[in-house]
């Protein structure tokens, strides 16, 4: 994974010093809150319902055991002993003091981390496939490009005061695990017949108030032209994105208001003014970065592991966990280990400092010191020998990290919601907990099969409810929380926005409503091989609506 050179280290050090100065000027009153707000947001510091919240970047979701240890230290020293992993591959701390923030940023800088641009109307953390560099189906690791874009977008002087926030996601696999079609810019790697890398460029996807799927503006952009082309897109957005209405300010609104054709023409015209003639430096930099993402020193191993197979036979819990939580690695003898941060009745995405240390040590011992965080709020050990999987699972089991529900009904995405967030209209976590408890039996979950239940506590959709197979949106009806259910969303390469089923439900009615939906699916599916999303797309909303509302 990427390591800072002297330039990167100096950049973060200077940025930290800059923030320390800004915070001091705020505390002394030399800066007003209105002036300080955009500056602190550009360093990821929010004012929330109970306290300040700090959002720390985990670039493209990749980090090391040492970095995870530092995140644990920060949780203990400056927060309440835990952190929350988010749907954009970041981590959030909920009980931060402004007075401590510069010191926290220094502690992050000490391990090559930062909180730069995790908020504000600027380019945010570039997210990617949490199995990048490990997945069996990958064309090529997208993370070098992720790192290139991260650097290019850091304190970009032209694009620091955009109409609104800007989110980029990239994927290097044909199966899109990074939700690129619902991002402001989505990039997808293709190879042409000559074997050269090119990027499909998609613009104008997003969730929130107005969920939209991105349009493709370039099918195959040569890799060396990426930075130049991104600049053209950003310039068009910066100049023409709406600034009159906060809810209409994302690039998706611009794209859909002027139309895909006109938008593409604007970008191409801007790009044509100064096409990327001299890209040797970008190419050299990408090649330099790519060296850090070379595959680790894998051993040559057989495809099967006797030790793993014997352990499975001897231990049914372990066997079940391997069935659900392991993913195929491109290298024989290795597996991708998915650690669910969704224990039964737990808070999705939360980890205690102790759990963080356990995962950090497992990474160091068993996964070439590398971890990932996924947008589904789980942690990944990307390169584990099959021979070691049982030892890993044993350790996870001791620390409530062995929920065997990866990708199933218990693997719920939920935003912090009204329990923490000033923007929320309802709580999301208790709903997740109730559903989790209802389907605690993994047999039941396995029967339902692959399922993405996503819960958002307000229309800003940080819980990604629009692209959940089952989406739940928490709203406020005359001061009472009530929940709207959508079906049929997907964040895959065949992305879709979920459809609202009907009137909303009170909190206590939601788990039963979900069970109703899932029972209907089980009844009508064409065998267990037809998963929930496929069945919904075949059947439509009607049978589910009837099941939910006719009984009244």
């Amino acid at each position: 994974m990427y390591r800072y050179d002297e330039f990167d280290a100096q950049f973060v050090a200077e940025r930290t010093a800059q923030f320390r100065d800004q915070a001091n000027r705020r505390l002394s009153g030399a800066l007003t809150e209105d002036e300080f707000r955009p500056l602190r947001l550009m360093n990821g510091l929010y004012l929330q319902l109970h306290a300040y919240m700090l959002r720390v970047a985990i670039p493209y979701g990749t980090f090391s055991g040492k970095q995870m240890h530092q995140l644990a230290m920060i949780a203990d020293k400056y927060d309440r002993g835990y952190g929350h992993f988010t749907t954009r591959q970041n981590i959030q701390y909920n009980w931060i003091k402004l007075e401590d923030t510069a010191d926290i940023l220094q502690a992050l800088a000490d391990v090559e981390m930062h909180a730069i641009q995790t908020s504000g109307n600027c380019i945010r953390n570039v997210t990617t496939d949490h199995w990048a560099g490990a997945a069996a189906d990958e064309i090529a690791d997208p993370r070098p490009v992720g790192e290139l874009i991260r650097q290019w977008s850091s304190l970009h002087p032209e694009f620091s005061y955009l109409p609104r926030k800007f989110k980029i996601a990239i994927t290097g696999a044909p199966t899109d695990r990074a939700a690129v079609r619902v991002h402001d810019i989505g990039l997808r790697l293709h190879k042409n017949l000559a074997g050269q890398n090119g990027w499909e460029v998609m613009v104008g996807g997003g969730q929130g108030r107005t969920p939209l799927i991105a349009v493709t503006v370039r099918d195959f952009l040569p890799e060396n032209e990426l930075i130049g082309y991104l600049e053209a897109i950003m310039r068009v957005y910066n100049l023409y994105g709406r600034r009159d209405n906060k809810y209409k300010a994302r690039i998706k609104i611009l794209v859909h208001e002027i139309g895909a054709e006109k938008f593409r023409a604007e970008v191409e015209a801007e790009y044509a003014k100064h096409p990327a003639q001299q890209t040797q430096v970008e190419e050299a930099e990408l090649a330099r970065i790519a060296k850090y993402f070379a595959a680790p020193d894998f051993e040559t191993l057989p495809r099967m592991s006797n030790r793993l197979d014997m352990a499975r036979l001897a231990n049914p819990d372990f066997k079940r966990w391997t069935k659900n939580n392991l993913a195929a690695h491109f290298k024989d003898g290795y597996a991708i280990v998915n650690i669910s941060l969704k224990p039964v009745g737990g808070i999705p995405g939360d980890a205690t400092s102790e759990q963080m240390r356990v995962m950090a040590d497992l990474a160091k011992t068993y996964s070439f010191d590398e971890l990932r965080v996924s947008h589904a709020q789980n942690i990944v050990l990307p390169h584990v020998k099959l021979d070691d999987v049982f030892a890993v699972w044993q350790k996870l089991s001791e620390h409530d990290l062995a929920a065997a529900n990866y990708g199933l009904a218990g693997d719920i995405i939920a935003c912090p919601g009204l329990d923490y967030c000033s923007l929320a209209t309802a709580r999301a976590i208790p709903i997740a907990q109730a559903i989790s408890r209802k389907f605690a039996d993994v047999d039941v979950q396995e029967n339902y099969g692959a399922l993405k239940i996503n819960i958002s506590g307000c229309i800003n959709a940080c819980g990604h409810h629009h692209v959940g197979h089952i989406g739940i949106l928490g709203l406020d009806k005359k001061g009472e929380e009530y929940y709207q259910i959508t079906l049929g969303g997907s964040s895959s390469e065949n992305a879709s926005i979920g459809n609202i089923l009907g009137p909303g439900f009170a909190a206590h009615e939601v788990p039963e409503a979900i069970e109703n939906i899932l029972s209907t699916y089980v009844k009508l599916r064409q065998g267990k091989a037809e998963d929930f999303l496929s069945a919904y797309r075949r059947l439509g909303a009607k049978p589910f609506k009837e099941a939910l509302y006719a009984a009244a």
Binding site: R15, E35, W152, H156, E158, S160, N238, R243, H274, Q277
Partner: protein, 171 residues
Amino acid sequence: MPLLKNNEFVADHFIEVADDMGLPSAGNVLISSSRITEAAALNLGIGIRLNNTDKVEALVANFPQITLIVLPFPAFSDGRSYSIGRQLRLEGYRGELRAEGNILPDQLQLMLQVGFDSFLVTERFPLAAWQAASQQMSLAYQRGLYRNQETEVWSSRHQGFNAWEEQPHAG
């Protein structure tokens, strides 16, 4: 309001002339772009006031005649003028580029990097604050920024390529 240029407060040599007013016979005038020909005929120093919705292409042909362009920053969250300023420099404008409006010291370096060289600022901050702000970051990851006071990280990593001069490209 103080005029900041090259880390000093300087005098403003331009006089703003409204559209319905006559032009002086000599000196530097700040006018709207519709009066360029008129001002050029009088051999005046020409400054143009642009809106942050104006298109740069319309002005390119007049660059040789213009020595000042003023761009607004109506709210500091309104970042359009950063792009217009950059476009002007990419199109080859080399006169003075002035920022006017809501400008905090924390934005100064960003504005300098995209090509602004003078700033009409509020009296709230002393000169020392502006001077410090203009050099808080010594590095820039982006290439092709106008000012090359910051070290271009990518160019420095890969010797044999020059900052800025080897440009331009959209990136």
